[in-house]
């Protein structure tokens, strides 16, 4: 009889454990701060920003195509929703037209903040400053957006799951 109870306990634990693996983390505690830092870095990788700068735009597009979760999607600053496939296609077209990237141009995220954690899903916000370069290579701001950044942990690795860009009026 006691083995039947043990079996039931194992069954219950096994189905619940993955879901609640990261529940219990609270804003400001050590684990939360560590995860926020980790995802801030993931965010920079996603955007090929800072130390992840890539001089060739296509290299960044190729990296994103392998980094984004298969279900990745993005709502852009004009309210248009694109799937991962559509994003890769449009960014590849843009990279063909403008293959070189001036350092510091493109999306520059700042004020990254982890807002909520649900098991293997994390939701964060940042303020992204978009910059472009003129014909002389002079870099200047072209726009900014508050961004919802969504991440999923798959096979032990955090990956971008989606984004929503909300334009900020100057």
């Amino acid at each position: 009889m006691k083995y039947i109870w043990a079996l039931l306990f194992v069954m219950l634990f096994s189905s619940a454990a993955p879901t609640f693996a990261q529940e219990g983390m609270k804003p400001g505690d050590k684990n939360w701060v560590a995860l926020e830092k980790q995802l801030d870095d993931v965010n920079n990788q996603w955007l090929c920003a800072g130390k992840y700068y890539k001089p060739k735009m296509q290299d960044c597009v190729n990296f994103r195509a392998s980094y984004w979760s298969d279900q990745f999607f993005e709502v852009g600053r004009t309210g248009m929703t694109q799937t991962k496939e559509q994003m890769v296609a449009s960014q590849t077209a843009a990279a063909t037209k403008n293959p070189n990237v001036v350092r510091g141009t493109g999306p520059n995220p700042q004020d990254f903040k982890l807002m909520s954690v649900y098991g293997d899903i994390a939701l964060a916000t940042d303020l992204t400053i978009f910059k472009t370069a003129d014909a002389n290579g002079q870099v200047s701001e072209s726009g900014r957006a508050n961004v919802l950044r969504m991440f999923v942990k798959e096979n032990g690795k955090w990956r971008p799951a989606g984004a929503v860009l909300i334009p900020v009026e100057k």
Binding site: S14, P18, T19, V75, Y118, G119, V152, A161, I166, P167
Partner: protein
């Protein structure tokens, strides 16, 4: 020896059952029956979130109370304009203040979600991301124009159009990302984030 065998058997059972439950939840694919059913469930949850359709509440404060109970504790919302990013507590506080000033809601007034589309499902079927096209409507005044004097949270604009009923003006349209978490068997709003789009008409 028998005990060791039994322990091994228990562990193996647990592993198999655990992976089976994960696999079953993650087998859901865009367009299949389970996906379509979940999309319908979440479309209804979205209506409940926004107090629309069968969830219409004539008193604004009743909707605020329902949301306060319905939103997950970690809920937050991101919108264009001055409100920016707000936590659940900030949202409830702001909407409660608005409900005191403007107590009544006309049927159909407020956010009207259309084209609800489930985009992604994660966390072993307990976390879902969707988008919709939300139309913000307000009642029209005696002059047949949007009655900005009797609603909150809308910046007056001269760009608007009448909806099909002819009684409400559409003053703003957005693409809204609607994110839900399933807790204790119930889907609840976890995040809302909207990006503005041009008026349809």
């Amino acid at each position: 020896m028998i005990k060791i065998r039994l322990v091994c058997l228990l562990l193996l059972s647990g592993m198999l059952l655990g992976s089976a439950s994960l696999a079953s939840a993650q087998e859901m694919k865009k367009g299949d029956k389970a996906w379509t059913e979940l999309e319908a469930t979440l479309r209804d949850a979205n209506q409940k979130w926004l107090c629309q359709g069968k969830y219409y509440q004539p008193k604004r404060i009743d909707c605020v109370h329902q949301r306060a109970a319905y939103w997950d504790d970690q809920f937050f919302e991101m919108n264009p304009g001055a409100s920016g990013t707000q936590t659940k507590a900030q949202m409830v506080e702001g909407q409660t203040a608005g409900a005191k000033t403007y107590a009544d809601v006309a049927p159909g007034e407020g956010p009207n979600p259309t084209e609800f589309t489930l985009m992604a499902v994660y966390n072993h079927g307990t976390f879902a991301m969707a988008v919709d096209h939300t139309l913000f409507k307000i009642r029209v005044n005696a002059q047949g124009k949007p009655d900005f004097e009797h609603v909150t949270a809308y910046v007056p604009t001269d760009k608007w159009y009448l909806d099909d009923s002819g009684k409400l003006a559409v003053v703003r349209e957005v693409t809204y990302a609607r994110v839900f978490v399933k807790k204790n068997g119930e889907w609840r709003p976890a995040v809302g984030a909207s990006s503005p789009r041009a008026l349809s008409k």
